[in-house]
Symmetry: C2
Subunit: 111 residues, 2 copies
């Protein structure tokens, strides 16, 4: 999948996944990596940004196999942002589809 296309969408995707239940970065990468490529070098800075915006909050959970996991939970603000991003996403897709669709036959295009 083209790298540039993902820019600005991964936030939305991560928030959407977290809306289905708390998770931690390492797991998020594995989940998202199935459909769209995404690597650790992407997710960790991204989670920091989400936390800096107060869209998620964290808590540690000890693991039976490996170091403690830093779980992320959506905040109320995060859920609101998720809704806003969903709307932006739909508007964006509509806009692009409009450009991609065949000429809209505007009357004044016959100069």
């Amino acid at each position: 999948m083209k790298t540039q296309l993902k820019k600005g969408v991964l936030d939305l995707c991560v928030l959407a996944v977290l809306d289905r239940g708390d998770s931690y970065a390492y797991e998020l990468v594995n989940q998202l990596a199935q459909g769209m490529q995404i690597s650790e070098g992407t997710i960790y800075p991204l989670m920091r940004r989400l936390q800096a915006e107060a869209w998620v909050e964290t808590y540690l959970v000890e693991s039976s196999a490996g170091p403690s996991r830093k779980y992320y939970r959506l905040t109320a603000a995060g859920r609101a942002e998720l809704d806003a991003m969903r709307r932006e996403w739909r508007d964006f897709v509509s806009e692009v589809e409009l450009v991609l669709s065949p000429a809209p036959q505007t009357e004044e295009a016959l100069s």
Copy 2:
């Protein structure tokens, strides 16, 4: 419209517009600026990239009001690329919509 979302899509949009007829950068900005914001500082480097990839070729046309216009015409390679990009776009949208849709209830998620 969010800046980051546009990354990787503007190429596709410009090629799609050119597929409907030759145009020049200044006009492309005005056309695209209706739906999605786009500025001159974006379009000129972009057109250079498209030309460097040989997806478009140029020819000058003198204008009755202002300096000569540098028209861009889609090449065969450009048209092929446009088709490829359209497919990538659809795949990309599908992938994101999949993530945004409610939990798909995979059996093995009950560990």
